[in-house]
């Protein structure tokens, strides 16, 4: 099972990647945990998660070929 992850804004800056594909990740909670293991700086970051272009507010099961976006808040204007 493949899941495509998109990182926006400063999340791409601190991890150095804006797109990752991960295998065998069951749900958004375990996906975030494994991302934070790979990129510890993400543990300090605020972001919301969208699964297939829809913001989620609780742990969500992932499906094969789905896209998860991690969106941080921007303040600049």
């Amino acid at each position: 099972m493949k899941v495509h992850i998109m990182l926006f804004g400063q999340l791409a800056d601190i991890t150095g990647v804006d797109k990752i594909t991960v295998e065998n990740t069951l749900d958004t909670d375990s996906m975030v945990k494994s991302l934070q293991n790979t990129y510890p700086s993400l543990t300090q970051s605020t972001f919301v998660i969208a699964v297939d272009k829809k913001i989620i507010s609780a742990n969500t099961l992932l499906t094969d070929q789905c896209t998860v976006a991690l969106l941080p808040p921007f303040s600049g204007g």
Partner: protein
């Protein structure tokens, strides 16, 4: 609206548009839009709305024009440096379109004035540059049932959305707290002054805000209701995400106007970290004492360099790796504005806990120099 008959000739090119017509123009001329922030986002939004014949435009900004604004705040010129943004913008826009009403508020939107100002408008454009104002605008607009046309930028990326919009009856309106329930840790997200911004980016995002506002008023197209659009200027990637109204975020909002007035948004957006902050006066007292280690966490090559204080540099990007080199009991970290140093302070605290006394210089070098120049006077 002014007494004279509006000259529709001015609007001819947009009246020609299918679905827009005279009806669309009337709707614009009868609408009232408040633009909060006359900066990088606000300037282009204001220009296009004034040019399009938006009947009443309010401008809120307490700031004055400075030279670092000019690369993106295109309403202003070098002659405006030092002048208030709101009234300068008003003057400029009145020359562009004398047929509309423009009201300037040369003050910061606060819990004391927000409800009174916002209630007279149909739509609020959030063109601010800080989280405190963004949460304040959101909460006030939720209380008053006003739609928000939100825009924000960071470096090369921008976000646009229409929040708290009751016009689409099929969906429950989502607000800013459904997108970002609570503010990030202070210092985690840098503003334009810290992170930098390409001037044209807020130009694009601010123009999108104007476009979404016009769509919302005239009823053309599909405005970004409950949707956040992200734009990356380097890759031209556009990505739309649906925001879902979440019942649990309701509890984060002030319940009524009295609760709203009691809110302290500056504290709410900074409180998580300010336990580390030391002000200039106290910093100067301990700065050259023996048991304190002072660390510049700016990246290599950033200026100005301090000469009267003993310090060394560990850039924030390499901070964690080099933390073991810190030996003394008391540590003061500093950066340009005091934001990145808060992050460094948090890293220190995560490592040393209460074993060391950790401070972050409030306001950073900018504040320290300001203080130094007043002392000399």
């Amino acid at each position: 609206m002014k007494e004279q008959t509006p000259s529709y000739e001015r609007y001819q090119r947009q009246i020609l548009l299918k679905g827009f017509g005279l009806e669309g123009q009337h709707k614009l001329l009868q609408s009232k839009v408040l633009v909060v922030g006359a900066g990088g986002l606000g300037c282009p939004a204001l220009q296009y709305l004034a040019a399009a014949g938006l009947g009443t435009i309010g401008i809120v900004d307490e700031d004055i024009v400075s030279i670092t604004n000019l690369h993106r705040q295109i309403l202003f010129t070098v002659d405006d440096i030092g002048l208030p943004k709101a009234s300068t913008a008003k003057e400029r826009l009145a020359k562009l379109n004398p047929e509309i009403t423009i009201i300037d508020y040369n003050e910061r939107l606060s819990t004391r004035n927000a409800l009174a100002i916002i209630k007279d408008y149909d739509i609020v454009i959030d063109a601010t540059d800080n989280f405190s104002s963004r949460y304040l605008i959101n909460d006030a607009c939720v209380l008053l049932n006003k739609p928000i046309v939100y825009g924000a930028v960071s470096q090369f990326e921008g976000q646009v959305a229409i929040l708290n919009c009751h016009l689409a009856s099929s969906v429950t309106p989502a607000n800013y707290r459904d997108l970002f329930p609570t503010p990030p840790i202070d210092g985690e997200v840098l503003n334009c002054a810290e992170a930098g911004v390409l001037g044209v980016l807020p130009g694009i995002i601010g123009s999108m805000q104007a476009s979404e506002t016009i769509k919302l008023i005239t009823g053309i197209g599909k405005p970004l209701i409950n949707t956040v659009l992200t734009y990356h200027s380097l890759t031209n990637q556009l990505y739309k995400i649906e925001i879902v109204a979440n019942s649990s975020t309701r509890s984060l909002l002030p319940a009524n106007e009295a609760d709203f007035i009691k809110m302290d948004y500056d504290w709410f957006c900074a409180s998580k970290n300010n336990k580390f902050e030391i002000d200039i006066e106290n910093f100067n007292k301990i700065a050259n004492t023996a048991d304190v280690e002072i660390i510049d966490v700016r990246e290599l090559g950033e200026t100005p360099i301090l000469t009267d204080i003993n310090y060394y540099q560990i850039p924030l990007s390499q901070f964690k790796e080099n933390i073991a080199a810190i030996k003394k009991e008391k540590i003061v970290v500093f950066c340009q504005s005091g934001k990145r140093s808060l992050q460094a302070a948090q890293i220190l605290f995560d490592t040393f806990g209460n074993k060391k006394i950790i401070y972050s210089l409030k306001g950073g070098i900018t504040e320290w120099f300001k203080n130094k120049s007043t002392e000399k006077r």
